[in-house]
């Protein structure tokens, strides 16, 4: 019986994945190429794919960080920016850019667009699916490039790499300190919640549903179920038949979600430092509330948007100050597994 149910689920998920791929195929014409440099992509290149909207302030540091880690090519979809993001990205030599004015929400929060780009360009590559406010770190990231990481994942037979998203915030109100493009955002956003994450395993997709962090503590203390999902699987050795289900929280085929050990051991994992709470967060929150493009049932998040727009102080006296990856590793927020 159990086996039968399992087979049935697997079959349903297979069709779900095909539906996602078909959606991506249908949406391909929404993407208008602005700068197509995909001819530069070589066999072993590591790629970043991302949907952006008005991220000019974050992009310089974002690009610098990932270039330093050894990303070879960036594939961006610009969703209707009006702050010069498109012009900025179009000029970068290792960036391919598409633009679209269509709905972010109807594209499953940009995933359909990215799935199309991945299907077309990322097959056989290690591919990072990121938002512009996510900065990936992993054990030894200061001395070992992404290439070292993916070589090692290849060698150990892994095709996906799990991370925890860590909301970083300043001490004091969000607007207190202004961030300049290109600066290290973690000079300002140097605090995080160190040990309040709640994990459940999703029975169908087998991914870990992680919630917690400062947003759960501060904005969702009375309705924790609605707190944002903090687990992501952003780094995948892509195959053209793969598809993310919701953002990069879960992916199909579901074996790729098994980035954790269930027998008690620790696997290698990393962290996405989340730079959402720069001073721009307050304005942006008001705007996002108006657009209603970020959640499936956006109106239920109105109070969340309002409280960010209120310019809150997220810091508490049990916040932890970011020192480096060794600290995060020792705290158990990520693990180097046996990659020493």
């Amino acid at each position: 019986m159990e086996i039968l149910r399992n087979l049935l689920n697997a079959y349903r998920l297979r069709w779900k994945r095909r539906r996602f791929l078909f959606r991506a195929f249908c949406k391909r014409n929404q993407l208008k190429p602005v700068a197509d440099r995909t001819a530069q992509i070589l066999d072993d290149d590591i790629l970043v794919v991302s949907t952006v909207r008005n991220e000019l302030i974050r992009l310089p540091h974002f690009l610098e960080h990932y270039r330093r880690l050894g990303v070879n090519h960036f594939l961006f979809v610009d969703n209707n920016s009006d702050d010069g993001t498109r012009e900025y990205l179009a000029k970068e030599p290792d960036v391919s850019l598409w633009s679209t004015a269509q709905s972010y929400r109807l594209s499953r929060f940009g995933v359909d667009w990215l799935t199309w780009l991945q299907l077309k360009y990322a097959h056989g590559h290690w591919c990072l699916t990121l938002d512009a406010d996510e900065i990936l770190i992993y054990p030894h990231h200061d001395t070992r490039s992404l290439k070292a990481l993916v070589n090692w994942l290849d060698q150990t037979g892994r095709r996906s790499f799990g991370t925890l998203m860590l909301d970083m915030y300043p001490k004091g109100r969000l607007n207190d300190r202004l961030y300049q493009p290109g600066d290290d955002p973690f000079e300002i956003l140097s605090w995080f919640d160190g040990g309040n994450y709640m994990i459940r395993k999703q029975p169908l997709l087998q991914n870990l549903w992680i919630q917690g962090g400062v947003r759960a503590r501060h904005f969702f203390a009375d309705q924790p179920r609605r707190a944002p999902t903090m687990g992501k699987t952003p780094l995948v050795k892509w195959h053209r038949r793969y598809a993310y289900v919701s953002s990069s929280h879960s992916i199909l085929p579901r074996q790729l979600n098994c980035v954790y050990d269930e027998a008690g051991g620790e696997r290698l994992s990393g962290i996405l430092l989340h730079t959402k709470f720069l001073h721009t967060a307050t304005e942006r929150s008001a705007e996002e509330k108006k657009r209603g493009e970020h959640f499936a049932n956006s109106s239920q998040y109105d109070s969340y948007y309002d409280s960010i727009a209120d310019n809150p102080d997220l810091w508490c006296d049990r916040s932890t100050r970011l020192i480096g990856w060794r600290q995060l590793e020792a705290m158990g927020l990520m693990s180097k597994g046996n990659w020493v």
Binding site: Q155, Y197, I199, L208, A263, G264, S269, L333, M334
Partner: protein, 565 residues
Amino acid sequence: MSVGIVMLVHTAFDRAEQVVRHWSAAGCPLVIHADKLVPGKAYDAFVQSVADVPDVRFSKRHRCEWGTWGLVAATQSAANLMLEEFPDVRHVYLASGSCLPLRPVQELIDYLAERPNTDFIESATTADVPWTVGGLDQERFVLRFPFSWRKQKFLFDKYVSLQRFVRFKRKIPNGIVPHMGSQWWCLTRQTLSAILQDPEREVYDRYFKKVWIPDESYFQTLARQYSRQIESRSLTLSKFDYQGKPHIFYDDHLQLLRRSDCFVARKIWPFADRLYEAFLTDQASAMKRTEPNPGKIDRIFAKAVDRRLRGRPGLFMQSRFPSEDRENGLTCAPYSVFQGFTDLFDNFESWLTKTSGARVHGHLFAPKRVEFSEQQTVMNGALSDSAEIRDYNPRAFLVNLIWNTRGERQCFQFGPRDNQEIQIDMAKDPNAQISVVSGAWAVPLFRSNRDFSDIRQEAALLQQIESKHLEILRSQWTRARIRIWTMSEFIEAPMEALQTIVDEIGQQNLRGLAEVPKMADLTGFGQFLQNLKNQGMHPYLMGDFPVEHNLHEPQQSKRKPYLVR
């Protein structure tokens, strides 16, 4: 020209070329074997690139797949060629393209010259070594392995099971005793030629072709037949993880490798520029005569394997989520749970803090908010006092609290008025030390100023909850440390009970209990219980309390509290 290098290469030819030049510069002749799977173009380019290096030969190419005979065949051809072409060579050193000499080659030459008849080859019988990947130790010598472990895993496994089922056993030829060890060795001409020119070699080769991973056993076994002096260790520093895959060295291992004093290390990541730069440039030749000392590296890698297989107990994260039955317990450190003590004593929490030095919380699972110690609204790790967040995932709450406060003993209160969802997890957790004074929940009711019908109703409810709780604590799969007293039992000799509990927390307190917590005034409690009974509610969890109020009055202690030393 006393040391010859046999080098097996299959990838990263630019690095191999660098290392070839390095060996050659010190006067070592080389025989290189390139995997047959290497495309012709890449192979030709590689041959061209080292064309100007003196004393380099290329041997006949074989297909080398991990775990198969090909690697041994390759080594045989290359070693043969080495012995024929370079008659001066005394020791033959087997290395790979991703090996990196850590010490000046001259030091290795001197080291071997001082030990002209010693074979350095790790070689141990299967009974003596724990490295058995895939659970095949002795069996790899008595079963047949025609299928690839990597590409035909299913057939491989099935064929092994089949042979086990029919109790198939191969005969080991000529009564040799199979030995295993690192595939990277350094043998003398005498031993090596004896192996290669053995009249029985046909027989051995035929046997080892069907042994699993013969590159770890062929030379290791046969060297035992001929060697005059075996040092059973490899001169190449090479660590393997639990899957039998080699650990890789990166730039940040530079100091570690320097301090190891080993001659050669593998496997080096081909893009580790700093390592290649540091070890392949001419080193100041302050000749060290130290023995290789891989101890520190051994420890680091052993710890890594342990972390990968066992992990840190009590940690739940994105890459460690032990399924319920796999982990021994839930939390990472011992903690104490007290039920009924705050009802019975007025100042229990402050007293316990003072006596035990532990952190003492109130009712962490109270319905309105999490009562952290000292009225804090957030605890270590920014753990919120929101009851909603806690109740959303009580298990994660408890695990996080204990994990975040590692190094500080946690104590908290629990009772039938609290959220009961966590009780099963606690009962199953060997780190929990649960002490219960049953029925003590009646004391606040007794002291309250409420309508008796309300009291009666609540008493019935609380009694029901607590008796269920006790049932769980007494069940067979409970693994927590449990102590249960009825209230009447407890107030007979409270100090004795408190002393054991505090002792178990085990911090400070070498001189017994200096101070005693203040017990609530229980005058009339017996009558109170009788009233409940008269109303048809039968309170039984607190044990027997006589109606006459004088009998159990701990306030006017008739005898001195009994102190345990």
